[in-house]
C-alpha cells in the first residue's frame, strides 16, 4: 500500500523558521482568567471576534444549503431552537462557558454549541 501512494516530488524544505513577523503568519495571544465565573471568561475575546465566528457559521450553513436547501433549513431550525438545550447536559464549567459566548455574541446557543462539538461530529 505504501508503494501505491502518490509519489512525493517535494523536497524537505529548509529555512522556513521563523516565519515573517506579519499578520499573515502571526497569531494573537489572549488571557482567559479562570478566577472569573465561567460565563464571563471568554467575553472579552468573543465580543472582539464575533464577526469571524458568525462568518464561519454562515460558511458552514452555505455549505449545507448547497447540498440540500430544504434539509439545511430543517437542520438549522433544529439547531437554533432545540440543540441549545443540550448545553444544559454538558459538564461544568464548559456548559456555562458556551452559554456565556452565545450571550456575548448574540449568536443562537445551538449554533455556538454546534461549533464546539465539531470534532465529535466530523470523526466519521
Amino acid at each position: 500500500t505504501h508503494r501505491l501512494g502518490p509519489p512525493q516530488k517535494e523536497e524537505c524544505v529548509t529555512g522556513k523558521y521563523p516565519p515573517p513577523q506579519t499578520a499573515e503568519y502571526q497569531v494573537p495571544k489572549y488571557v482567559v482568567n479562570l478566577d472569573l465565573p465561567a460565563a464571563d471568561r471568554w467575553t472579552h475575546i468573543v465580543k472582539e471576534r464575533a464577526k469571524s465566528i458568525v462568518n464561519l457559521l454562515q460558511k458552514f450553513k452555505d455549505f449545507v444549503k448547497a447540498l440540500d436547501a430544504k434539509l439545511a433549513e430543517k437542520i438549522f431550525d433544529y439547531v437554533d431552537h432545540n440543540l441549545g438545550n443540550l448545553t444544559n447536559t454538558l459538564p461544568q464549567p464548559y456548559a456555562d462557558e458556551i452559554k456565556g459566548i452565545a450571550k456575548a455574541t448574540e449568536i443562537p446557543l445551538g449554533e455556538v454549541l454546534l461549533y464546539n462539538i465539531f470534532y465529535e461530529i466530523f470523526t466519521v
Binding site: 505504501h2 489572549y30 478566577d35 464561519l56 458552514f60 447536559t89 465529535e120 466530523f122 470523526t123
Partner: protein, 253 residues
C-alpha cells in the same frame, strides 16, 4: 493533522503539530482553497489560562471554540489531539448522549480537564487512556524528561494502543497523522512517509523548533487544509503558533 513528539540528543522534548480542518466542506474553485479552512485561519489564537495571575496552562484554539486540541502545562506536559476517522464515530457518541448516556467524555473538554488538573505525564497518560470518550481519536502526549512521549490510539471505549518514545532503541520521534501507526495510511493521503523522511533527514542532532517547523512546512504534510503549526517546548514553557498557507501547487489534503 500531523503531530510530532521528538527528543534531542540531550533528552529535551519538543512537540509540534499541524492542525488541518475543513475537508470536503466546500472547495473554492477560484482560489483553490477549502472554504471552512480559510474561515478558520483568522480565528486562530494562543490562550493563556490563568489563575490568580499565574499561568496554569496554555492552548491554541479558534475564537469561540472553548476546547483544547493543542496545549501544554509549562514544565509538566504537552498534548495534541488528531482526528481518528471511524464508522463507530462521534456522531454515535452524540446520539448516546442525547439518549441520556452521559458516561463518555467530550474530546476537547477532556483535554481541558487534563491540562487543568494533571500534575504529571503519567497521570495525564492514564486519564487519556482510560476514560470513556464520545469519539475515537489520537492523543499525542509529551512529558518533561527523556523518553516521555507517546501516541494513544483511542476507540470510544478504550485505548487500542500506546506507542512510546524509546530513544535508547533509536525511537527518538513519533509522528502521527490520522491513521493507526501499525497500519498503512490511506494511499491517497500519505503524509506519514514524507513526514518521517524529512524527520530522518533532519536528524536528532537538529531537533528543535526550526527543524520540526521545516518538516511541518513540507508538502504534503503542509496542505490546503492546514490552518496552523504549533511548536511546544515543555521545560521552557514555550508555545509558538504560526498561521500556515500552502501556495499552489499544493495537495488539497
Amino acid at each position: 493533522c500531523t503531530s510530532i513528539v521528538a527528543e534531542d540528543p540531550a533528552g529535551k522534548l519538543y512537540h509540534a503539530r499541524n492542525l488541518d480542518f475543513g475537508l470536503f466542506m466546500g472547495w473554492d474553485f477560484k482560489n483553490h482553497t477549502w472554504v471552512i479552512t480559510e474561515a478558520l485561519r483568522p480565528m486562530i489564537m494562543n490562550i493563556e489560562f490563568q489563575m490568580k495571575g499565574q499561568v496554569v496552562y496554555k492552548a491554541v484554539t479558534y475564537a469561540g471554540f472553548i476546547g483544547a486540541i493543542t496545549g501544554m502545562i509549562p514544565g509538566v506536559l504537552t498534548m495534541s489531539m488528531n482526528e481518528r476517522f471511524n464508522l463507530d464515530g462521534g456522531y454515535l457518541g452524540i446520539i448516546e448522549w442525547l439518549l441520556g448516556d452521559h458516561n463518555g467524555k467530550w474530546m476537547s473538554f477532556l483535554t481541558r480537564d487534563v491540562l487543568m488538573y494533571s500534575t504529571s505525564y503519567q497521570q495525564a497518560k492514564e486519564t487519556l487512556s482510560k476514560d470513556e470518550l464520545l469519539a475515537p481519536g489520537y492523543y499525542i502526549l509529551g512529558g518533561n524528561s527523556s523518553g516521555q512521549g507517546c501516541v494513544i490510539t483511542r476507540s470510544r471505549e478504550k485505548s487500542l494502543d500506546i506507542w512510546e518514545l524509546n530513544p535508547g532503541k533509536g525511537v527518538w520521534y513519533l509522528l502521527e497523522t490520522n491513521y493507526d501507526h501499525w497500519k498503512a495510511p490511506l494511499f491517497v493521503d500519505d503524509r506519514r512517509t514524507p513526514g518521517m523522511r524529512c524527520m530522518n533527514q533532519t536528524t536528532q542532532q537538529n531537533v528543535g523548533f526550526a527543524g520540526i517547523f521545516n518538516v511541518l512546512s513540507t508538502k504534503p504534510v503542509l496542505n490546503k487544509l492546514t490552518t496552523y503549526t504549533a511548536l511546544m517546548q515543555v521545560n521552557a514553557g514555550k508555545l509558538e503558533t504560526y498561521k500556515q498557507h500552502c501556495d499552489d501547487p499544493c495537495w488539497p489534503w
